[in-house]
C-alpha cells in the first residue's frame, strides 16, 4: 500500500528523542518484515516500545507509526483503546487493582484504601518517587485468588494488607537494588 501523503504541508520529521536500542528496532523491523500485514503487529510493537520506555510517549508513538507504516493518528486510535497501553507516564511498577465483582466482594476496597494510604496516591497517579502507579482494572481472571492485583502484569493474590506491605517492600527493595531501568 502506497502511503498517501498530504497534498500540502509536508510533515517535517524531526529526529526522535528516543534512546531505543538499535537491537530492539532491528528486531521489530525483522518481525514486521516477516509478516504479510504489518498492522497485525501493532499491539506487539507498541508493547515493545512501551516496555522499553515505561509508557508509549509521543515519540514512541511516532516511532511505532514509522515502523508499522501507519500514521501517528492510526497508532493513537489503537493505543488509546487498549487498557495495557499507557499513553501517559507511569511509574516503574504499575499496580492494577481488580475492581470487578468477585474481588470487590472479597474486599478490593480495603486493598485500594490501604494502597492509597501507603503510597499516598489516588487512582491514575504515580508516587513522587516514580516507583508506583495505581490503576483500577476490570476482572483479570484470577477470581479464585480474590482480591487480586497485577504488578507489571504479574498477578498477586489473594491479598491482605500485610501481604500488600510485603509486596511493596519487595518492589522498593528491588528498585533500590537496580535503580534506573525502565522509567
Amino acid at each position: 500500500m502506497l502511503r498517501p501523503r498530504g497534498a500540502f504541508f509536508e510533515r517535517t520529521i524531526e529526529p526522535l528523542e528516543l534512546h531505543v536500542s538499535e537491537a530492539l528496532i532491528e528486531k521489530l523491523k525483522n518481525e514486521i518484515a516477516a509478516v504479510e500485514h504489518p498492522r497485525e503487529l501493532a499491539v506487539d510493537v507498541m508493547m515493545a516500545l512501551q516496555d522499553h520506555h515505561g509508557y508509549l510517549s509521543d515519540a514512541a508513538r511516532d516511532q511505532a507509526a514509522e515502523l508499522l507504516g501507519m500514521s501517528a493518528l492510526e497508532v493513537d486510535e489503537l493505543a488509546t483503546f487498549y487498557t495495557f497501553i499507557f499513553r501517559e507516564p507511569v511509574g516503574r511498577y504499575v499496580i492494577h487493582v481488580c475492581d470487578s465483582l468477585i474481588c470487590w466482594m472479597a474486599g478490593e476496597e480495603n486493598i485500594v484504601d490501604h494502597l492509597r494510604q501507603q503510597l499516598q496516591i489516588d487512582f491514575g497517579q504515580t508516587t513522587a518517587d516514580g516507583l508506583f502507579t495505581l490503576l483500577p482494572v476490570c476482572c483479570i481472571g484470577y477470581c479464585d485468588r480474590a482480591p487480586a492485583i497485577l504488578v507489571n502484569r504479574r498477578v498477586h493474590g489473594p491479598l491482605t494488607n500485610s501481604r500488600l506491605d510485603e509486596l511493596l517492600q519487595k518492589y522498593r527493595a528491588e528498585a533500590a537494588e537496580k535503580p534506573g531501568s525502565n522509567v
Binding site: P4, A7, F8, E10, S71, L73, E74, E77, T80
Partner: protein
C-alpha cells in the same frame, strides 16, 4: 427486485437496497445520523429503527442495516420503534452542550431537527455533562467536540472514503474522541466536507463562522469554476457577500462532495482589493465614460488599421455567455478571432484531446468510480482536478487497479502503480501500452489498412526504460472489464490524447465498458474550444502586436501574465499597444496596465453557463445583486443610516454585457439565451452533454513516438503544473486559502539533485526576481529523472524562475 411495503405503500427496489434507501424512494425520510448514502450503513447511531411487521424479519430493527426483501411490511411509525428512536435521542442529548445559540450549525442541524421532532425536551439524566477539549484543525474547519454524537461519519469519510490518515477516532466508550493525534491543519484537500457531513456542530465552516444563519442566507444552485470538472455547488450569501460553498449532489459529476479549493475559493469575490470601479488611464471614471471612450477609441483605431488592428482575448474561466459574445463580436466586426488562452502548448493539447472525444467514448466523473482499471497518463488529479482523486479512491476501494504514467511523482489517496516517464516520452509510453494491448488474436480482427498502421506504430516506437512494464500493463488492460483512461492536458504533448483514444478504442473491443476522461486547464476550456478558440493561438497574436499590426487589445477576464511564461516580452508587447482594454473581477497583474479598465461581475452576481471537461452544460444562478458587503460599508459597525439609490461598489456588470455593447453599440443588454443557443447549446438541457461527434475521426499522428527527446538525452526539463492551492487564477485570490498555499518549491529525483548539487530542504534564491522568489528543494524518487517540477503559482516572477532554470539546463 424485491417489492416491499413501507407505511402502507408498495415500492420495488433493486436487490441489496437497504430499507432506509427504499423508504427514501417513497419520500419517507427515516431519521439517521451515522447512515450517509456515500458512506453506507454501519448501524452505530440506532436512530433509524423501524418496525418490521411481516416478512422474513419481525420486530424493531435498524432500517440502515436490513436489506429490502420481498414481502416485507415496514412501519416507520411503529410505537416500539418510535419509542426507541426517542430514547436514542435522549441518550445522544445526555451530554450535548447547551450552546445552540452560539453554534453555527444551528438552523441546519440534523440533531436539532431530530431532537425537536422526536419530542425530547427534558434531560432526566442527573450526571454531569461530558466535555472535551477542541483542536485547531487549520483555517478551514472549526472543531467543537462537546457537540459530538459519535456517529463516526467524520472518521469514516476522512479515512475510508478519502484515504487520508490524520483524523480519526481515539479513546474508547464514552471517551471516544474524533480529531487528530495532535492539533494541526488537516492534510486532506477534502476536509471541508466534514462540515457538510457532520450531523451536528462538531465540524463547522471556519471562514463563515458566526456570519449568519442558514435561514437568512440567500442561496442558489451554482457550479464550481475552480477546475474543469464543474462540481455542483450551493452558494450561500448574505449582506451582499458570498460566504459559503456547499456541495450539491450531482449523480454524474461530484456525487455528494467537493474539494477544498472549490469550497473555499469564493473569497476572491469579496476581497478588499477587488476592482469595483471603471478606470481610464488608471484614474476612476464612471462606467458610462469608460464604455463610451472604449467604443470611440476602438472605432478610431479600426478606422486607421482596419478590423485586423484590434484583437480579442477571452479566457477559460469566463462563462459561455462571455465567450459566445466575444465570438459574436468577432463575426460582427471582423476583428481578429478571439483567443482564449495565452498558453499555446496547452491549447494544442486541449484541441487534440477534445477532437478525440466523441459521443460514445466520453465518460462522466462518477463513472470512473465504477471502473476496474484506471490508467492515468500525464494527469495529476490532486493538483489539476482534486475530485478526480476522490473518484479514483472509490474505484480503488472497490478493487480497481490504478496506474499513473507521469513525469511527476503523482500522489493519490489510494494505492496505485506509478511509472515515471519523462514528459517527452509520454506519447511513446502510450504507444508501448498500445503495442502491449495489441495481442496477436486481436490483430487478426483488423483490416489490412489497420494492420499496416499498427505495424508502422510498432516499428516506429522507440525504446524507453519503462517499455517492458508498459507493454505488460497494456496487455493487462485487455483483460479489464471496465477500464477508464484519463489523460491530462497540460503536461503531455498533443500526440498523447489521440493515442489514448486509440488505446481506448482498441481495448473497447473486448470489454464491457470503457471511456476517456480529460481534465482540462480551465473551467470553461470546453466552451472556448467549441467556440473555435482552439484554432486561435496566442503566439501569432503577440507577434502581431510586436510587429505593430495589432494596435488595440481587448482582454476579457484573463490575466495573461499567469498564462504566458515570458513576462518581460509580454509586458513590452502590451506597452507597445495603442489601447489596452481590460475587463476583470480580480486585481491581476494586467489590470494595472490597462488604458481602460471595466470591472466585471463574478459568477455570484452574473451567473452563467459553463461546459465542464466532458462537455456537460451547467448553469450557475446569480445569488446576489452585487456591491460591497454591508459589513464593509458599515466598517464593521452598523450599516449606514442614510438611504441612497445605488448600491455602493455595485458598478461591475457582467463581462458579456460590455462585449455585447461593443458588438451592437447598444447600452441595453441583449437577451443572451438565443445567442447561446445559436452558438452551441440549442436543445441541450442543463446537466446534459452538448452534442459530440458520433465517432472518432483520424488515426493519430505517430511522429513523436519515434523521435528522441528534445535536447540532449538525459537533459533537464522544467514542468510547471497545477497544484491544489495557488494555481487556479480565481482561487489564488481567495484570502481563505492563502494560509494553505505551501512554500514554493521544486521537486526533483535524487539523482538529478545530485547532478545539480542540491540537497533536500535547500533554499534557492532566484536571482533578479521581483517579488523576490525563494525555492525549496524537495526530493522524490518517484519523479522522472531529469525533471524539475514546480507548481504553477499566480503572482510569482516566472520569467526570473525560467531564466534561472534555463541557466541550469544550459549548464
Amino acid at each position: 427486485m424485491p417489492t416491499l411495503t413501507i407505511d402502507n405503500r408498495p415500492v420495488t427496489v433493486p436487490d441489496g437496497t437497504k430499507v432506509i434507501t427504499a423508504a427514501e424512494q417513497l419520500g419517507i425520510m427515516i431519521p439517521r445520523f451515522c447512515y450517509h448514502p456515500a458512506l453506507g450503513s454501519v448501524g452505530a447511531c440506532r436512530v433509524c429503527a423501524v418496525g418490521f411487521k411481516e416478512g422474513p424479519i419481525k420486530g424493531v430493527e435498524m432500517s440502515c442495516m436490513v436489506d429490502a426483501q420481498e414481502g416485507m411490511v415496514v412501519a416507520t411509525d411503529d410505537p416500539d420503534a418510535v419509542d426507541l428512536r426517542k430514547h436514542v435521542i435522549e441518550l445522544l442529548m445526555l451530554h450535548h452542550p447547551h450552546d445552540c445559540p452560539v453554534c453555527d450549525e444551528g438552523g441546519h442541524c440534523l440533531l436539532q431537527d431530530m431532537t425537536i421532532s422526536g419530542g425530547h425536551g427534558r434531560r432526566r439524566y442527573a450526571g454531569a455533562k461530558r466535555t472535551h477539549l477542541d483542536q485547531d484543525l487549520g483555517p478551514l474547519v472549526q472543531h467543537e467536540m462537546n457537540r459530538c454524537i459519535q456517529c463516526y461519519r467524520c472518521s469514516r469519510f476522512y479515512q475510508q472514503f478519502c484515504g487520508y490518515r490524520d483524523l480519526g477516532v481515539t479513546g474508547i466508550g464514552t471517551r471516544v474522541y474524533f480529531g487528530r493525534s495532535e492539533p494541526g491543519t488537516l492534510e486532506s484537500p477534502f476536509s471541508g466536507n466534514l462540515t457538510d457531513i457532520c450531523p451536528t456542530g462538531v465540524y463547522t465552516d471556519k471562514p463563515s463562522r458566526f456570519y449568519g444563519r442558514r435561514w437568512d442566507y440567500e442561496r442558489a444552485p451554482s457550479v464550481c469554476i475552480h477546475c474543469s470538472l464543474g462540481c455542483s455547488l450551493t452558494v450561500s450569501a448574505r449582506y451582499r457577500k458570498a460566504v459559503r460553498h456547499e456541495a450539491r449532489f450531482n449523480a454524474q459529476v461530484n456525487g455528494h462532495f467537493i474539494c477544498d479549493r472549490g469550497r473555499y475559493a469564493y473569497a476572491y469575490a469579496s476581497q478588499p482589493e477587488r476592482p469595483r470601479d471603471a478606470l481610464i488611464a488608471g484614474r476612476p471614471a464612471t462606467l458610462a465614460q469608460a464604455a463610451t471612450q472604449m467604443s470611440e477609441r476602438l472605432a478610431a483605431i479600426e478606422k486607421g488599421t482596419g478590423p485586423d488592428g484590434i484583437a480579442l482575448m477571452g479566457s477559460a474561466r469566463s462563462s459561455l455567455e462571455t465567450q459566445a459574445l466575444l465570438a459574436r463580436l468577432h463575426s460582427e466586426k471582423g476583428w481578429r478571432t478571439p483567443c482564449f488562452s495565452a498558453d499555446d502548448a496547452a491549447t494544442r493539447v486541449v484541441s487534440s484531446a477534445l477532437n478525440t472525444l466523441n459521443a460514445t467514448n466520453t465518460i462522466a466523473l462518477t463513472e470512473i468510480e465504477g471502473a476496474d482499471t484506471v490508467l492515468l497518463v500525464g494527469a495529476d488529479p490532486i493538483g489539476e482536478a482534486p475530485m478526480l482523486a476522490l473518484a479514483l479512491r472509490q474505484a480503488q476501494r472497490d478493487g480497481s487497479r490504478i496506474i499513473t504514467v507521469d513525469p511527476r511523482p503523482v500522489t493519490l489517496p489510494c494505492a496505485h502503480d506509478h511509472i515515471a516517464v519523462s514528459g517527452d516520452d509520454l506519447a511513446t509510453a502510450v504507444a508501448h501500452l498500445i503495442i502491449g494491448a495489441l495481442e496477436p488474436s486481436r490483430e487478426i480482427a483488423l483490416d489490412a489498412d489497420q494492420q499496416d498502421r499498427f505495424k508502422t506504430l510498432k516499428q516506429e516506437t522507440r525504446d524507453i526504460p519503462a517499455a517492458a512494464e508498459l507493454r505488460a500493463i497494456g496487455h493487462a488492460l485487455t483483460t479489464a472489464w471496465r477500464p477508464a483512461f484519463v489523460c491530462g492536458t497540460t503536461v503531455p504533448d498533443p500526440d498523447v490524447p489521440p493515442l489514448m483514444g486509440l488505446l481506448q478504442a482498441l481495448v473497447q473491443t473486448s470489454c464491457m465498458w470503457s471511456g476517456l476522461f480529460f481534465p482540462l486547464p480551465g473551467a470553461n476550456t470546453f466552451g472556448a474550444h467549441c467556440l473555435g478558440g482552439s484554432d486561435a493561438l496566442f503566439e501569432p497574436l503577440l507577434a502581431a502586436v510586436e510587429a505593430g499590426q495589432v494596435k488595440a487589445l481587448v482582454v476579457v477576464e484573463n490575466d495573461l501574465f499567469s498564462e504566458y511564461p515570458d513576462q518581460q516580452r509580454l509586458a513590452a508587447a502590451l506597452e507597445s499597444l495603442e489601447l489596452l482594454v481590460v475587463m476583470d473581477c480580480v486585481p491581476s497583474a494586467i489590470t494595472a496596465r490597462a488604458d481602460i479598465f471595466l470591472p466585471t461581475q463574478t459568477i455570484y452576481e452574473a451567473g452563467g453557463h459553463y461546459l465542464n471537461n466532458e462537455g456537460r452544460l451547467q448553469v450557475a444562478t446569480p445569488v446576489i445583486a452585487g456591491g460591497l458587503s454591508i459589513m464593509d460599508t458599515g466598517g464593521g459597525n452598523h450599516p449606514p443610516r442614510e438611504f441612497r439609490e445605488d448600491i455602493p461598489g455595485g458598478t461591475p456588470r457582467p463581462a458579456w454585457q460590455y462585449v455585447a455593447g461593443l458588438a451592437t453599440g447598444e447600452t441595453d443588454p441583449p437577451d443572451v439565451k438565443p445567442l447561446l443557443d445559436e452558438a452551441l447549446t440549442a436543445g441541450v438541457a442543463d446537466g446534459e452533454r452538448v452534442s459530440l461527434p458520433s465517432a472518432s475521426r483520424e488515426w493519430p499522428s505517430i511522429e513523436r513516438i519515434g523521435a528522441g527527446p528534445e535536447g540532449d538525452a538525459g537533459g533537464l526539463t522544467l514542468i510547471e503544473s497545477a497544484a491544489t492551492f495557488g494555481s487556479e487564477p480565481l482561487a489564488a485570490f481567495s484570502t481563505v486559502l492563502a494560509e494553505l498555499t505551501p512554500l514554493f518549491g521544486v521537486t526533483v529525483h535524487s539523482e538529478t539533485a545530485q547532478r545539480l548539487g542540491w540537497r533536500a530542504g535547500d533554499r534557492i534564491v532566484i536571482p533578479d526576481s521581483a517579488p523576490a522568489l525563494e525555492v525549496v528543494v524537495t526530493l522524490d524518487d518517484r519523479a522522472a529523472p531529469g525533471v524539475l517540477l514546480v507548481p504553477r503559482r499566480i503572482g510569482i516572477d516566472r520569467t526570473a524562475l525560467r531564466r534561472y532554470m534555463a541557466h541550469l539546463l544550459a549548464e
